[in-house]
Structures are given as structure tokens and as C-alpha cells.
Amino acid sequence: MTGLGRLLSIGPTDNTSRERTPRQPLQLIPEGARESFVPYSRVQPALLSAEADMTRLAADLPRAAGEAIEVSGQLTDEFGRPLRGVLLEIWNANTFGRYTHKEDASGLPLDPNFLGLGRVLTDQDGKYRFLTIRPGAYLARPDIGRWRPKHIHMSVRGGSSRLVTQMYFANDPHNDGDPMRILMGDAFKHNVAGEYDAGQPDLAAGYRFDIVVGGRNATFFENDL
């Protein structure tokens, strides 16, 4: 039979979390309905290699403002098996903390050389690599002076529905007060990238971010890639 599952927590100082977080515990799914909750959609995008370099709009155009960084890592399931041919969709703010999204009304400066969108597929070993501009932090709650720490959004899509996550930077002074970080507790460390020397003079740093796809998200990643 069924019962109650997790009670989701509300992120402190996060207005949208207050507005949108269910107050009732989640319901458990009875066995007979379990399979129906796992979407599947074949991903066959035709990517351009330039989409993995977010630091410029095209190869013959100038590099965006700020520090160019490399981000790389491996996608695996919880047993360490590589996830191949998985689509990563990446978006982050520019060096000033501004997104190119039309609904970002922050008033922070735009950078004409930065779009902030990238896509890359994992290779046969589940590995990926892309370049972007180190995002700026931005004042999420001007009324109480709360900043969002620097972060890079990633949506991971294999056969299944999306795993949406964020990569954070170690030692960002705004990490500790961030509502998302607070909700993760000690597990926050799994979303913090490890810094390395990218070995190229035009790259300020490299960040290793391994993504482990767990739970129901893993179901179809194991099957058909």
C-alpha cells in the first residue's frame, strides 16, 4: 500500500520557494503505477562544436568579458558506469551577473559578446568539456542583501526526463547563505566543482564537475545509449 514520502523544505529567504513549495508531504507511488512515472525521449540533437565554447558567439568574434574557464567532468550512474551520448544544456550569467533571458530585469550590464547558452554531448567515456565565462554573483534579494553565489546551471538529458542541477564554486563567500545550499546540507559538496590548472594561458582555471545521476533519473540512462 502507500503512504507519505518526503516533506519538501522551503528555502530560507527564497520568496519563490515560499510561494511554490508544497506544504503537504509527497505521496508514495503504488507499485502498479511506478513505471508510468519514468518518461523517455530519445535525444538526437545535431550539435555544433562551437556550442561547447560559450566564451564567444562565433570563432571569428571577440571573446566575452571576464575570465574564460574550462569545465569538464564525467557523467556516471551511482555504480560508476559512464553515461554516453547524454545531452548537457548549460546556461549561466555573464561576468556581471546578468542573464540574456528576456525576463532578467536586474538591470545589470549585458555583454554583447556573451550569450550564456551552451550544449555538449558526453563522449564514449561519459566525459564532457566546455568553455564559459566565470559567472558573476548577483544580488538576489536587494531588500535583505542576499546574493546568489556564482553558479552554472546544467540540465542533463539522456533517455529520461531532465536532471536539473547547478555547479557551485568552492570558497564563494555567498555560498553559506544561499537557500539552495542550505537545503542541500552536507550534500552540497557534491555540487561544488574542484579547481585545476587548465594548462592554457587564455583560460583562468579549470573546474572538474562529475555528475552522478541517481534515483529514478538513472532508469533509462542505463538502457539505450
Binding site: 519563490t16 509527497l26 505521496q27 525576463e103 545521476v213 529514478r216
Partner: protein
């Protein structure tokens, strides 16, 4: 959340997609699963219906800027998964997967009335990503289906909650397709039941 064994890697945390999920990552055409392509006469098999909905927050406002994914079986109740690749009842023109980013919190899905197998009632799985939450999952049922009374998911809920998952019939559109309507209340009064697909 997940139990950790020595040989098991801890899963990367899900996180909010924030308010600025890029529209170019969504395919605007993916909210009509009936027409295969605007330039082709091919259409999915079965009875076209429309499901309209609104996301509502705790203050009664529309939940703007959400990414929505829909997942359902075809008219004969078969999900388009690798496990069913050779199933005789697959519809080659229907894969049952739709998505959009809703700027205003409303959505309209044109699809095939889902079939249902075994003891399930026709349903559409809805996944919501938005600012303020990581991910919410539920299922939408259709008013007037006899199987609603015995569906294992619906009947697992306390009786007063069941109707919150049933989209109401609001008549037919210009094409003669039955239109259903549902409010998905993310928090507060008349909150929609959501499901725990990590711990179930």
C-alpha cells in the same frame, strides 16, 4: 535521500532551474503530439483532446516561468520506451513526450486521449521545474473515465484529494476536440497531490 553503500557514488543534488531557463532549449512545437509535422499529413492514431492547465502558487497567483514536461502512453496504452520497441501496438507517429517553458504559468497540450492498460485509468504524467523548487511530479486524469474509480494511484490517495488530479471537461473546441481543464496548485489551499518518485 538515497542510501549510500561503499560501492555507490552519492548522487548529484537536483537543484532549481531558476527563473531563466533558456527558451531555446525547449522546442515550441512539442505541445502538439497529434500533428507529426506541419508539412506532413501524418497524424497520431486515436482521439485528439486538449488539456489546458494553470500553475497556481500559494498566493493564488500564476506560477510563471516554469518548464513543464508531459509523458503519456498512446491510444492503446503503450508507452514509447525501448522496452516496447517491438510492441505491435506502438504508434509510429506518437512518442507521448511533450514539453514547454510557460512564461505565464498556463499551458495547453494537444494530444491523443491516452489509453490505459491493466487497472490504470487514462493519465498524463506532469513534471514541473521552476524557480523555488527542484522538481515536482504528478499525474493528470480525465473527467468521466470509469476507470478513475479503481485506478491504483488515484485510490491510493485520501478520497478528498482525488478530484484535484482530475481535469474537468469544458466542452469542445473549434475542431470538435474535447477540452479538459485543470489547476495545478503547487502550495496551499486545495494543494495538488505530488508524488515522491525517489523514495517510492
Amino acid at each position: 535521500m538515497n542510501s549510500i553503500t561503499p560501492n555507490k557514488r552519492p548522487a548529484t543534488n537536483e537543484d532549481t532551474c531558476g527563473p531563466y531557463f533558456p527558451d531555446p532549449f525547449c522546442d515550441a512545437d512539442r505541445m502538439d503530439l497529434v500533428e507529426v509535422h506541419p508539412g506532413l499529413v501524418a497524424t497520431a492514431r486515436g482521439t485528439p483532446i486538449v488539456i489546458e492547465g494553470r500553475l497556481i502558487d500559494i498566493d493564488g497567483n500564476l506560477g510563471n516561468g516554469a518548464v513543464l514536461e508531459f509523458w503519456q502512453p498512446n491510444d492503446r496504452g503503450i508507452y514509447r520506451t525501448p522496452a516496447h520497441a517491438d510492441h505491435p501496438d506502438i504508434d509510429p507517429w506518437f512518442d507521448g513526450y511533450a514539453r514547454c517553458r510557460s512564461k505565464d504559468g498556463k499551458f495547453s497540450l494537444r494530444t491523443i486521449k491516452p489509453g490505459a492498460l491493466a487497472d490504470r485509468a487514462p493519465n498524463v504524467t506532469l513534471t514541473i521545474f521552476s524557480d523555488g523548487i527542484s522538481r515536482l511530479v504528478t499525474q493528470i486524469f480525465l473527467e468521466g473515465e470509469a476507470a478513475n474509480a479503481s485506478d491504483p494511484l488515484l485510490t491510493s490517495l485520501p478520497e478528498p484529494l482525488r478530484s484535484r488530479l482530475i481535469a474537468k471537461s469544458t466542452g469542445a473546441n473549434d475542431r470538435g476536440e474535447q477540452v479538459f481543464s485543470i489547476d495545478v496548485v503547487m502550495a496551499g489551499n486545495n494543494e495538488t497531490p505530488f508524488f515522491d518518485d525517489l523514495e517510492s
